[in-house]
Amino acid sequence: MTADPRVSLATLNPGEAAVVVGVQGEGAFRRRLLDMGFIKGTLVRVIKHAPLRNPVEYCIGGTHVTLRLQEAQQIIVEQVTPPPYCRTHDDRGRGRRLGRGRGRGGTWLRRNR
């Protein structure tokens, strides 16, 4: 059942979090992503999609950055439990305990089974 845990950042749903494994592609844009902090080991959290689904707002290193899904596709991540910071709408009232559920992670699980 456990396939490759590495997925692209674009497959994550709002509320979910992941750790960067690497950035694919080359050239200026890849470099920009590296410089913006999408470096191996960094935690990213999906905050929300724009109303028309694209672009997406991410929280990385305490700042919020927007990317289009096509671009998030280049970022390879490994999903983790959302941290207490970079909180999203879904966390309201849930306190700041670690290890809370995956937000709308249910769909993620289903899709990746």
């Binding site: 844009f29 920009r32 672009p55 290193g61 950055v65 289009r68």
Partner: protein, 718 residues
């Protein structure tokens, strides 16, 4: 040594980290700050004196890195290397130390004397985070100073630290070479040695830095070191090989490419330093912003709120702006009237009244509206909402082959195209800048409004408002279609990615917003003082000359004779003769000749020759279209119902036009070549070739559309 010592300090740092705020606090200058990454696009210079030093402060554009990929980054690094500032102050957003210090490392590698300014310290403390200043100072090997840029706190200490550094009183000061791991370090040593042995010139860049850049595949540095220009031929080819070998070597040894390995090395170093010195925040500083965004970028509310804000902005601009505009209009009329009565009738008074006051006055009346629009935009930018607007609009703009950030220049385009073109600089890719600049003029600027008001008022009476609105919509729709067309044909390269930071919401300061507004409003005023003034005078000249003395004499004598006769019929005949005289003068003038010459080109559109001329003079500034029509149709502008008589003249079956042609005329004014000042700005921003294209395509577009509308309309019997 009584003479003052001089010093140059440069401010570098991430976009939106507060460099310009620090700059303004230091120099008391009024540069434009904004809660919007990429506000400063050119370096700005200010002067102060501190502790006996004459200090030149340079505000640099914001950058995340120092690659050769973007203009700003190249500007910053070549400035630092070529101009060699005595001290570089790295302005850091303390709320995101990891990413900011990543740039610190790169600055240190450039071998500059560095002071790290921990800006936004207020926000940092608010989140409950703690930083061991002594430790981070030691780890970075550079003095650190907390500041609050927009309130001017810590500025003295910052300047002191910079001067201490220069006077070498700084204790921890040293250049810490960052280790990228034994593998990479060895390769770097080897490359540096080759650079030295080969006698390669790196144009002032430190050798180790150049070696790192070669491993990162930096094109500019590779070209510099291996093109044979900086080095003897065999050395350069050996270098090229050595670099390629090193890059291969790294990827084999680490399983990742060299660029990634080096990025990770830097961020690893920063992480290590922060692990020792930083206590993580208790709260998230984006917490409040996220709550606000739950409403403002909400899936359902996002667009309605956005539209409502835009609606309010336009209401303020055009409805509220109409009041001061009315006052200015009466002021201009009063001035013209006073001058006319005060001065004896002569060519000079005519030049002053109709040329200078009439020409400049017709433009200045738009200033209030434009300032209100820019004030609103400044407020939205400084609060942080504009970044959200770009976030909301990106999907739609992307469909047109544009970028979410293109939205702001296009919004400004409704005020004045010129500052809007300047605002395209916040776009990162040249492709996006060119495309946005090309379709920007289709956003109907405020100078075009009086033409619509005149023509729509003349032909569509009570439906005038709707017709004018329709023209604006046609402009937007055309921009969308043209955008798509260009994206499919001329600019097929992939549009720039949308990586944009969403800054925290901040309460705009009054000073900040006003400076911001003024910076752009100034561009508009400069256009008026310069080009429009000159153009008005030239236009007046072209309309008043050549004067055939014999013709004038004959007319004047005939009129005088009729007037002397005293009978009612004679007086009436004199009136007729007088208007005939005026018409004759205009027709004989250079403008009249030009009008006759181009008439064949505008006749298929249903325009009169006077309208053709006004389109030419409108190239100076679109509002001149109205004043030219006023002159050509001999309607006395200085009377209160001057506009009325002009409208009547347009409708007059004798020399006038049909409503259909009037509509085609409005379309033409909307679509054709922007004014000369905008064309100049276009050239400066995207080059002569694209400027020529812009002028050409818009002229063609305007002519074709007007032709189509008029001819088809005539066919269906409108």
């Amino acid at each position: 040594m009584a003479e003052k010592k001089s010093l140059t300090i440069a401010l570098a740092g991430n976009p939106n980290s507060g460099k310009t705020s620090i700059f303004n606090s230091m120099t008391g200058a009024r540069q434009h700050v904004g809660n919007w990454p990429g506000v400063t696009v050119e370096k700005k210079v200010g002067y102060i004196s501190h502790r006996g030093y004459e200090i030149e402060i340079v505000d640099l554009p914001g950058t995340y890195s120092l690659t050769a990929y973007s203009v700003e980054e190249r500007v910053v690094r070549s400035y630092i290397v070529d101009e060699k500032p005595d001290v570089v102050i790295h302005v850091v957003d303390s709320g995101n130390l990891a990413r900011n210090l990543y740039l610190t490392i790169q600055l240190m590698e450039l071998d500059v004397d560095l002071v790290v300014d921990l800006n936004m310290w207020d926000e940092f403390l608010d989140t409950g985070a703690e930083l061991d200043l002594e430790k981070i100072h030691r780890l970075l090997g550079a003095p650190v100073v907390p500041t609050v840029g927009h309130r001017g706190e810590g500025i003295e200490a910052l300047l002191d630290a910079a001067i201490d550094l220069v006077e070498d009183r700084e204790e921890h000061h040293r250049h810490v070479p960052i280790s990228y791991g034994p593998h990479v370090d060895d390769l770097l040593v080897e490359l540096v040695k080759q650079l030295e042995d080969g006698g390669v010139s790196t144009h002032g860049y430190p050798l180790r830095w150049a070696a790192i850049k070669m491993l990162e595949g930096d094109r500019e540095i590779l070209k510099m070191t291996t093109s044979g220009e900086g080095a003897p031929d065999d050395a350069s080819s050996r270098l090229r090989e050595a670099a390629a070998r090193a890059i291969r070597h790294i990827s084999v040894a680490t399983g990742a490419d060299a660029e990634t390995v080096i990025s990770e090395g830097r961020s690893g170093y920063v992480e290590g330093a922060l692990r020792e010195s930083l206590t993580l925040p208790q709260t998230d500083r984006m917490e409040l912003s996220r709550r606000i965004d739950n409403v403002l970028t909400n899936r359902f509310l996002g667009y309605p709120i956005f539209l409502a804000l835009m609606w309010i902005l336009f209401q303020l601009t055009f409805q509220v702006g109409a009041y001061p505009q009315g006052w200015l209009e009466s002021g201009v009329t009063w001035l013209a009237g006073t001058l006319e009565t005060a001065l004896p009738e002569s060519l000079v008074s005519d030049l002053l009244v109709n040329g200078v006051v009439g020409g400049v006055g017709s433009v200045i009346v738009f200033l209030p509206s434009i300032l209100i629009l820019f004030l609103g935009i400044a407020f939205l930018e400084d609060s942080g909402y504009m970044a959200r607007a770009a976030f909301l609009m990106d999907r739609l703009m992307h469909a047109l082959g544009l970028h979410g950030k293109s939205f702001i220049p296009m919004l400004m385009g409704f005020g004045c195209t010129v500052p809007a073109i300047m605002a395209t600089r916040t776009l990162e890719s040249r492709r996006d800048r060119i495309m946005t600049t090309l379709i920007l003029p289709l956003m109907s600027c405020s100078a075009r409004l009086p033409v619509y008001v005149l023509v729509a008022g003349a032909f569509f009476a009570e439906r005038a408002g709707t017709v004018v609105f329709l023209i604006y919509v046609i402009g937007i729709v055309t921009a969308m279609l043209i955008g798509r067309l260009f994206a499919k044909t001329l600019f097929r390269s992939t549009p720039a990615p949308f990586v944009m930071e969403l800054p925290p919401y901040r309460l705009p300061t009054t000073k900040g917003v006003l400076i911001h507004m003024w910076e752009r409003g100034k561009i508009y005023l400069q256009k008026m003082g310069g080009v429009i003034l000159v153009a008005s005078i030239v236009l007046w000249f072209l309309g008043a000359f050549p004067r055939d003395a014999s013709v004038i004499e004959t007319y004047e004598m005939d009129i005088a004779a009729l007037r002397a006769a005293g009978s009612v019929e004679a007086a009436a005949a004199a009136d007729v003769l007088e208007s005939e005289f005026a018409a004759r003068l205009t027709e004989d003038s250079y403008i009249g000749k030009a009008g006759k010459f181009i008439y064949p080109a505008v006749r298929p559109l249903g325009f009169s020759w006077e309208m053709g001329v006004s389109l030419i003079t409108g190239f100076v500034a679109k509002e001149v279209v109205v004043s030219t029509l006023g002159v050509l149709y001999h309607t006395d502008e200085s009377t209160t119902n001057g506009e009325h008589s002009l409208a009547a003249a347009l409708k007059d079956p004798a020399g006038g036009i049909t409503p259909l042609a009037g509509f085609a005329f409005m379309l033409f004014v909307l679509l054709y070549t922007p004014c000369i000042v905008a064309v100049i700005a276009t050239k400066r921003e995207i080059g002569a070739k694209w400027m020529a294209f812009s002028v050409g395509y818009q002229f063609l577009l305007a002519w074709t559309v007007s032709f189509g509308v008029y001819q088809i309309g005539k066919l269906v019997g409108l």
